[in-house]
Every structure is written in structure tokens, then in C-alpha cells.
């Protein structure tokens, strides 16, 4: 397996660095972006994750959503789903949090050079893809093509609404956003349907394409099948897997997928690497 991870911070992989909350940006009714100022360097690559801690309460894994080149601050975009994320949603500017990482392999960007890159995001899965997209924009002249397809449940669940308007104007990006459903009051003029419905009809060469998916398990499963249907080889399908990553260094045992640990061998895997393991979508 190709390894792209760097060493975790310092000589103690269990130590968090201190970060201060600068801004809390409400994105949707259940999703907030927390902007943090770090007290130590924590360089990461797209797809790698960090463990964010509410000191004394607990940690949870997140992939940063800010660009890798952004050194002034780091963003994480967090959906309120459980105990730690609930506490994260209560954070206010000035609060202290802990960050540990980066962990795992990110996307092998050098392998994307010369390829047609098709990125598909679902719901809060758009957060880590935002980081990836900014890296792809940076290397855009080395890519044959850049396509983004994003879906979410309804218009009010769409992340980074203002920012993404600017993406729509980029001539070097082919972007379509869709929603699963909307009402008449929603003022949505894009397509309606699950995200796989907007993957049809893209004119591209699947043998020279890379497919990237990040989102809820059900969305990743059907996007993967769609990628296959479109003819993208399994080894060019990149999935960002969500398991119960805790230590980040393949020791605590919670996030095993077959012969891999999601934390250190992933969280980005090619479909070829994991397709034979039972229960990958569970």
C-alpha cells in the first residue's frame, strides 16, 4: 500500500496541541464550521484527519475543511450527531480546544495529474472535499479536467453557500449541485434528485478518470457503483471511509476494516483496496 502519511506531532502521538476558537460559523441547522487559531504547526494534506478534543470531555475525528495552504487558521465543519459534536456546537470564540494529528493517508494528488478528476460530495461530506478542491484548484493546470457534483438533502443543508457561488463562475470547473428534495418556497433552480442522478451524461474518458466520493455510507456505496457503471476502474475510485477512529496510529483497534486500520491506512482508500472486505458500507 502506498503510504503518504507524515509523522504525527511531536514524540508523543497522544498529545494534543492547543487551539483557540476564533469564529463559529453556522452553516445549516445542524452543521457549524469552527475556525481555530493553532499555537503550533499542524501541516496536513487533503484527506488526512485530526482528532479534535474538548479538553476533559473527549475527542472525535474530523477532516479539516480549510485549504491546506491556509496557515493562519484551521476550519473543521461539524454536524451535531453525538456527545462530542454536541459540545463542539456549544463552542464560542475564545474557547480552547485540543488538536492531534494529522493522521492517515490523504489523496495521492500526484497520481491525479493528467487525469479527469470527478469529485462527488454528499451532505457534510462536502467539508473535507472543500480542502481537496482548493488543492485541486492549485494544481488545476496539471489536471485534464475538474468536475464537481454535490448533493444534499435540501437547499438549506447546502454548505458554504456564498463561497460556492464563486466556484460556479470558474471556467476551469464543471460543477453541478443538486438536492434530494425541495419545496416551492426553497427557491432552488438546480436539479432535484440524489447525487448519482447528476453523474449521468458527463462527457469524459472513464479510463483516464479518477472518481472521488465523500459522504454518508449509503451515498458512497451508490456513487461507487455509479463510478463503476461509468467505467472508472476500481483502483481509481477514492473513498473517504468513516469508522470509529480514536488513537489515529493503528493501535487502539476501533477502526479496523479487514486488513487495514482506517486511521493509519486510510481514511482514503481506493475501492480496489477494500472492496473484498465484508461490511465496508455498514
Amino acid at each position: 500500500m502506498k503510504r503518504m502519511s507524515s509523522s504525527p506531532i511531536s514524540d508523543n502521538p497522544y498529545r494534543s496541541i492547543r487551539a483557540e476558537v476564533q469564529r463559529v460559523i453556522p452553516e445549516t441547522p445542524t452543521i457549524k464550521t469552527i475556525r481555530m487559531k493553532l499555537t503550533e504547526d499542524l501541516p496536513f494534506r487533503p484527506g488526512q484527519f485530526i482528532e479534535m478534543s474538548i479538553p476533559g470531555s473527549g475527542e472525535a475525528p474530523f477532516t479539516p475543511s480549510s485549504p491546506c495552504y491556509q496557515k493562519e487558521h484551521m476550519d473543521v465543519t461539524v454536524m451535531k450527531v453525538g456527545k462530542v459534536t454536541e459540545l463542539i456546537h456549544r463552542l464560542e470564540p475564545g474557547d480552547t480546544v485540543g488538536l492531534r494529528g494529522p493522521f492517515g493517508r490523504g489523496y495521492p494528488l500526484d497520481d491525479f495529474a493528467g487525469k479527469e478528476v470527478l469529485v462527488v460530495g454528499g451532505g457534510v461530506g462536502f467539508a473535507p472535499l472543500r480542502t481537496l478542491m482548493y488543492s485541486l484548484f492549485e494544481m488545476r493546470d496539471r489536471l485534464a479536467r475538474l468536475i464537481y457534483r454535490g448533493g444534499c438533502r435540501c437547499p438549506e443543508e447546502l454548505l458554504y453557500t456564498d463561497e460556492i457561488k464563486g466556484w460556479g463562475d470558474r471556467p476551469d470547473l464543471d460543477m453541478v449541485l443538486c438536492v434530494d428534495a425541495c419545496t416551492l418556497e426553497d427557491r432552488w433552480d438546480g436539479p432535484v434528485g440524489v447525487v448519482t442522478t447528476v453523474l449521468d451524461g458527463i462527457d469524459f474518458n472513464p479510463r483516464n478518470a479518477v472518481g472521488v466520493a465523500c459522504g454518508p455510507p449509503i451515498m458512497m456505496k451508490f456513487t461507487t457503483y455509479k463510478f463503476q457503471e461509468l467505467g472508472i476502474p476500481d483502483e481509481n475510485i477514492y473513498l473517504s471511509m468513516e469508522k470509529n477512529m480514536s488513537c489515529g496510529i493503528g493501535k487502539c483497534g476501533h477502526c479496523r476494516i479487514g486488513s487495514y486500520y482506517c486511521c493509519k491506512d486510510g481514511p482514503v482508500f481506493t475501492y480496489a483496496e477494500i472492496k473484498d472486505f465484508p461490511g465496508i458500507w455498514d
Binding site: Y14, I17, V81, T85, G250, G258
Partner: protein, 345 residues
Amino acid sequence: MRYVSRANLKLLLDDLSGQYRVFVPVRKKDSRFYSRYEGSMDDVVIGEVRAFEPLKAFFFPAVEKVAEGFSGGSFPHEKDRPVCIVGVKACDLKGFKVLDHVFGQEDEYPDPSYIKRRAENLIISSDCTMAIETCFCLALGLKPFPQEDFDINLSPVGDGFFVFVGSDKGKQIVERHAGLFEEPGEELSSAQEKSRLRVIREVERNIEEHGVPSQDRYQGIIEKGYESAVWKDEAESCVECGACNTICPTCHCFLLYEQMKGDEEFARFRMWDSCLIKDFARVGGGDNPREHLWMRLRNRFEKKFDYFRKVADIYACTGCGRCISACPAKIDIRDVLRKLVEENE
């Protein structure tokens, strides 16, 4: 090879107590527990059979502080003298093969605390001089006497022990205390061989009685038995206590948690965890890849007999039988292996 009398072994342990915290197996009723050596050899049983507790506890404690605040600081935080563990059995030593793979120097992220203890602790192992009903080490390719991964091994004969040196550290200790060791008498050699053979016979009898398949028949049993009825059948009586995990010399999973220390500082700890517990693999959003208990029981076997085989070419079982004794539901790893092998062949 040399010989040390029990009286001289006491003198050796007295001396080692200056440098090490020495632990010896002490018999209480039908079990043996590691106890701190305080200068008395009463009730100390060097031979016999494996202790109640797994050896991993000395290298990977049940609870350990791994970080303190944001300030860095060294890890491990323990400043105590290293440990010398006496009477360690071959089955526990095999545990190192698994733990070294997870925490050791060869890993991409060596664990600072484990490595320190591995380097500094001293192992004075010993042969088994008996087997208990749950012993089945031979099925895992082990012998009931240590052959590697010890500093010094004691092989009980007569009123003393044959002494084998297994590392430079062990060699130095024997050399430094040369006066305590003697040349063994001829006649003791055959006594030692007889004793070893007798214990092998005892374990063989266990294996025969329980129909325990040997490890050369384990290849593929998990993959082929993935949908076997064994998992649901066996899990029916499981009470999800996790005793099999905590008592196992190769189980290494842990839970990270943190606690406040006063209003400002916090500390992070790791504690042995159990893959049988429902929330073990559950993600924040609530999805659980191993929702049902039988899936978690299967996962335990998958980890031991498939995962470790693939990543480290080893079966993560030592045949120590602790999980059999510890299980309140009487789930017997030997029966599970037998059924899987039978279904596979």
C-alpha cells in the same frame, strides 16, 4: 547451561530488587498470581503453570496516562524502576509477538511507553511443570517451556533450576552473579527432559480430549466460515462482559479518554477496551458496523485468526486458555476453532 539452587535464586532476586521491582508468581488456592517479591520465597511457585494475569499488564498497563495537558511532557510519565517478572510461561511470551507488532519499534508509530518497558524490564521465565485443563499451547505450535523472548529461563529440576540465558541482559546478570550458579550434575539432565515430556503429554491429552485442531489447519477458517452458524450459536450465551479480551495476552485494544485535573489542566488516559462491547466500533453518528453480539464475537476471532495472520503471519492466540477460564458463559475458544475447522475441511 548452569544450575541455580532455590536458595541461591532467592539471593539473586534479593539483589535484583535493588534495580527492579521484582514480581513472582504466588499460589493462592488453585491459581497463581504475580505478587511483589518482598524477600520471602514462601508460596512462590516458579514452575507449575501460567499465572492468572496476562503478562501484558507489565508492558501495557490496564490504565495509563498518555498525555498531560497541552504542554507536551514526556511519555510515559512513569518514573518507577523497571520490573523484573519471574516465572513467566511460554504462552505469555508468545504474546510479545503480537504486542511487538502493534506497539513495537518496527511499527510505523512505535509506542514510547511500550518500547521503554520492553527495553528495560527483565524476564526470568520458567518451564511449565504441569498443565491445567484449559492448556492447549501445543496446538498453536508452542512448547510448554520457553524457547525465545526471555532474558533468563529457569527449568525446574530437583531443588533448583537449570539456567538458560536468552539475551545479553540475561548473560550479564548471570555473569555478575557468577558465584550463585553451579555446574549442573549429570543426573539432573534426564530429570529435566522427563519433566518436559510429562507436561507435553498432559497438554496433548487436553488437546485430544477437546479435539483441538492444530494451527496448520486454521488457514482460511474465518473467510470460509464468515457466514457460519457458529457465531450465532456461540454468541447466544455471551454476556458481553469482555473478560476474554482483558485476560488475553494478545488483545491490545484500548479506549482513549480524558479527565480534568482541576479547572485548567486535563489528562488523557488509555484503558484496555473490549471489542465485544456494543459501542466498540460505533461511529459518532450512531452507525454501528457490528450491531449484533454475534458479529462482535466473530470479529474477535477474525482479528486473531485472520487479521494477524495476514499482517504479521501469526495467529494471535497462545493457547494459554485464560479466556476459557474467564468466560462466565463457558464459551470455549477450542470448540469454536474445532467447529470452524470441521466446517472448512
